[in-house]
């Protein structure tokens, strides 16, 4: 038996033993029957899960639409904040104030202000759909975070890259577009995915507007049955989406690390 196979076998056995021990401990602890009844009720789970999963499609629509807009708007903010020279100071200032404000205000507050407030204004041409305003609120908040991630990436590209590009006669904008931003984005893909996971979870906040997404659906079920298993079902639905993305992020980070090592020894 090779030492690799041996390590795997030991890991598998020790994991099984550990899980079994924890399971025995939990099942035999006082109050477990009540916990199981209210949170892990198989019958209620089977009933709630399809409804919650269907409502989750609203969350999927929310975070997919918002993410596309966030990636574009965030990059724009980051670029504006990186503009050099005194003439661009007001633009830099605006970008700084924006990120400070929207990173500082609780997401739920922005959703409430826009979701409840904007439709009331009744200004012609302004949409009254809560879904629309929910997307806008998420975009405003998350673009502030994503802009900072992009900015870190832009700053991590060595100034000698800019010197090389400018020395070929490329303009500042061309240098940004063809040399700096492509390198910056590649470096920040893992943290961008992290923020994407955060966004997916925060779509549940939209429930306060009455939009029937997964969490709101679970609340409705819970209120009708006095049983919290619907929440468990909702948690499972979210986790089914976020965990694969988290593993994918880990894989990307690991791949980048290995690529850099290979580059160094070559």
């Amino acid at each position: 038996m090779s030492s690799d196979a041996r390590s795997v076998a030991i890991a598998v056995v020790s994991t099984i033993v550990f899980i079994a021990l924890v399971a025995v401990l939990v099942v035999n602890s006082p109050g477990w029957d009540e916990v199981r009844q209210f949170f892990f009720n198989g019958e209620r789970f089977r009933e709630s899960f399809p409804k919650v999963a269907e409502a989750f499609l609203v969350n999927v629509k929310l975070f997919c639409l918002a993410e596309v807009l966030i990636l574009v708007f965030g990059l724009l903010l980051a670029v504006l904040r990186s503009l050099p020279g005194p003439a661009f100071f007001p633009i830099r200032l605006l970008a700084i104030v924006y990120t400070d404000v929207f990173r500082g205000v609780p997401t739920i507050l922005v959703i409430a202000m826009l979701g409840f407030g904007a439709p009331v204004l009744g200004i012609s041409g302004v949409p009254t759909s809560t879904f629309f305003w929910a997307v806008i609120a998420l975009v405003l908040v998350y673009s502030a975070y994503v802009a900072e991630v992009y900015r870190a990436g832009i700053q991590s590209v060595h100034p000698s890259q800019e010197a090389a590009a400018r020395s070929l006669g490329l303009s500042r904008a061309q240098t940004l577009r063809f040399v700096i931003v492509p390198q910056a984005v590649r470096r920040v893909i893992p943290p961008l995915l992290n923020d994407f996971i955060g966004l997916q979870k925060d779509t549940a906040l939209v429930a306060i507007l009455g939009t029937v997404e997964a969490f709101r659906q679970a609340q409705i079920d819970t209120a009708a049955s006095f049983n919290y298993t619907a929440y468990t079902a909702t948690a499972v639905v979210f986790i089914l989406v976020t965990i694969p993305l988290a593993r994918f992020t880990d894989w990307l980070i690991e791949r980048d690390r290995r690529k850099q090592l290979a580059g160094r020894t070559a």
């Binding site: 000698s160 090389a164 020395s167 070929l168 006669g169 040399v179 070559a266």
Partner: protein, 251 residues
């Protein structure tokens, strides 16, 4: 009748970083097809001088003219000027996210407006001339230092510059890789490229230069044909510098 006829002319150029005056009145003229080597200790201002000529650093005083046009004047289109001047850096500064051919064709495509095919064809021809044809699809990380520096030279040449600036292009290389880069530069000199070269390779400078300038504390202390400069330097500082180079076994 002043700077016309010169490929490059510097008059009383001053440059400071904060309180540190790096260039303190540089006067230098290069005729077309002339190869001039700048020698001097680290920190004597060689790199700064080259960066000023390429307008990567603004100067405080004086003027720089390329092919008769003053490039340090107000309102000059720096992007147009830089097209005419190729620069090669000590640390290569290749774009790591692009293939070798991508590096070589970026300038011609985006600045000169060549199509991808035109630029690609010209780029491949240049790469082939410098023995890099089989590397065109490699990424810079996968090349040796010598190959990377040759690609950087080709990238600058692809813009068809009228003047080349070389900033200690062999200093970051393992000793056994220096020769391949120097032979490329010799080839350029043979073809008549006007070059201003900052270097620590004294043997190479003696070989290739029409004129050698000794830079010390931001001024050109002494200049002359290499035979004179290396065998009978007049200035005591030049003598001292060259003695130290000989003692270090670098000549």
């Amino acid at each position: 009748m002043n700077e016309n006829g010169w490929a490059l002319s510097l008059e009383d150029v001053h440059k400071r970083f904060g309180r540190n005056e790096v260039l303190r009145g540089i006067d230098l003229r290069l005729a077309e097809h002339e190869v001039v080597c700048l020698i001097g200790a680290s920190g004597s201002g060689k790199s700064t001088l080259l960066r000023c000529v390429n307008l990567l650093e603004p100067i405080e005083r004086g003027r720089i003219a390329v092919l008769g046009e003053e490039i340090t004047a107000r309102g000059v289109d720096v992007n147009r000027i830089r097209r005419e001047i190729g620069i090669v850096f000590q640390a290569f500064n290749l774009f790591p996210h692009m293939s070798v051919l991508g590096n070589v064709t970026l300038g011609p495509r985006k600045v000169l407006g060549l199509s991808k095919e035109e630029a690609g064809e010209a780029g491949e021809e240049l790469l082939a001339r410098f023995g890099l044809a089989d590397k065109r699809n490699e990424f810079p990380d996968r090349l040796s230092g010598g190959q990377q520096q040759r690609v950087a030279i080709v990238r600058a040449l692809a813009m068809q510059p009228r003047l080349m600036l070389l900033d200690e292009v062999t200093s970051a290389l393992d000793p056994e890789l220096v020769a391949e880069v120097l032979s490329v530069i010799r080839e350029l000199a043979r073809e008549g490229m006007t070059m201003l070269i900052a270097t620590h390779e004294m043997g190479f400078a003696r070989d290739i230069a029409d004129r050698v300038c000794f830079l010390d504390a931001g001024v050109i202390l002494e200049e002359g044909p290499p035979a004179e400069m290396f065998s009978a330097p007049k200035n005591p500082r030049t003598q001292q510098f060259l003695q130290r180079i000989v003692a270090a076994g670098r000549m």
